[in-house]
Symmetry: C2
Amino acid sequence: MVKARIWTLAKQPVGIPRKEDFSCIEKEVSECKNGDVIVEAEYLSVDPYMCFMAKKVPFGTPMIGTQVSRVIESKNPDLPVGSYVVAQAGWCTHARLPAKSFQIDNWFKRSEILIPLEPLPRSLGLGVIGMPGNTAYFGLLEVCKPKAGETVLVNAAAGAVGSTVVQIAKLKGCKVIAFAGSDEKVAWLKELGADHAYNYKTTSVTDCLSEAAPEKINCYFDNVGGKFTADVLPHMADYGRVAVCGSISNYTNDDHSDPYCDPVVKAKKLHIEGLNVNRWSDWTQGLEQMKEWVLEGKVKYRETVYEGFEKMPEAFIGLFSGDNIGKAVVKA
Amino acid sequence: MVKARIWTLAKQPVGIPRKEDFSCIEKEVSECKNGDVIVEAEYLSVDPYMCFMAKKVPFGTPMIGTQVSRVIESKNPDLPVGSYVVAQAGWCTHARLPAKSFQIDNWFKRSEILIPLEPLPRSLGLGVIGMPGNTAYFGLLEVCKPKAGETVLVNAAAGAVGSTVVQIAKLKGCKVIAFAGSDEKVAWLKELGADHAYNYKTTSVTDCLSEAAPEKINCYFDNVGGKFTADVLPHMADYGRVAVCGSISNYTNDDHSDPYCDPVVKAKKLHIEGLNVNRWSDWTQGLEQMKEWVLEGKVKYRETVYEGFEKMPEAFIGLFSGDNIGKAVVKA
């Protein structure tokens, strides 16, 4: 019998999550029957969306999430022992995945076979060649539709999604303005090719944009929302496109009262679109493109790796204080 | 010499405009020279957008606005005495319009020849067969893109734009939910074919939508913004479309702090687009379609007519307390 450690919600987070909100339990993994596999986590993902989810479920619920895991027991000929999957198994060290979990429609429950990543690290299946990479890829290209010569603004730009958006926007011939929360992050963004990069903690968004974008912003890839967005909208160009990808400022703000300034939306004929990466069915095509760009050196990535399954809450909480550069993952 | 009476801003409005914010002056209209016409106002328009504009210009500025006016003196062969125009002449009884004012690109300065409306009243050139009609026509059809069988929500639905949106949505085979601010307005909306109509002053938007749209809302034509919109967004269907046409709640709210709830925009992959009717170049085609529908009895309209140029401020202020049903105009 395989024993799994599982992080559950001890209480529903209020504001920024704290360690006390999480509790680690042990549980036996149920038997591997016809079509099932048992997997062991190698890397586990922490992502900002988990905060939004955690505030919506009862305490006691296992935390949801994705992991790159290795098949250690198999009754499924398509998934022999030693193969790797991207499993929607939650914050756990071990799990049983029935065959149907690779077929179901619900994105938050569907596991997938990991696309071959060698010689790259498998952890990238949670980052630049995974959900965050595809979010940047589809979100920028299909929602913002940037044209060469246009100006693209990205916030939380040193994160897993933002750092990829910066680079894809440059690949498409755009001028890129990026915001992040430390001077170290800003320095990295300049290495990645951002034309302007600012530390939002030590500058005024309004002043920075007046300086960096007198021509106004055509595409705004928004990971933050709230006041940041209210400050940005007046700097948008007519017919500007806003991809509402994340709103990390609202995930921890329980009244969700931060503004989109709707007179500006109207006056500038802005086009604002919510972006959930699960809408695109050509998922693997996105991953293959990201892998190609990474292998060609056109897209660079960083990871913040926490060692040990017990670090899950710490890694997760770090997202909201900006501890990570690039993708945050936990090595089990 | 022709003398014009002109309403100017005596002070910049704070919150809802008051009579003291306006001042009526007299001024001689300058000489009618080569290519010019002198016009006399027959009907003058008051529209909510004027509040947003008034808060942005210095006091002393003549109020901007559109009027249906008659040419009373002409040095322009295209515009003989007795012809009618939709003039961007502001809140004034008489004005000189140079030939170039019929050609310039700036929508807020361009005058146009009135399309033939007989046997309909000329005042409709400011309403259902004018800017508000075209706003409803293009905004609903090109921004919301409603499909037959979908559910459309409209607020400020008894106004010039809203009442037209209700009817076009019904013509396109949609289910329509409408909100307005009095029981009399609600009764009229039901006459116009709204499947559900509510008085937002005596009901809860959230409760009404739970009842009327368990299938969720595909198209939201928003004239109000602010809290109304924050209450609506959770009731939107995935891939719902929001046309941000007006935000009357924000025109009088000087901090513009009312929310769009961006986690919802993301989660539901909403598509929110600002709508300024001046973006559509096939303007006359819109007017001709509206006229046809009115003549066929497919689109009905109401007007609230104030008698006398001196009533301009009163008519305008009435927009923000919901005094008017349908289009508010002033008969000079």
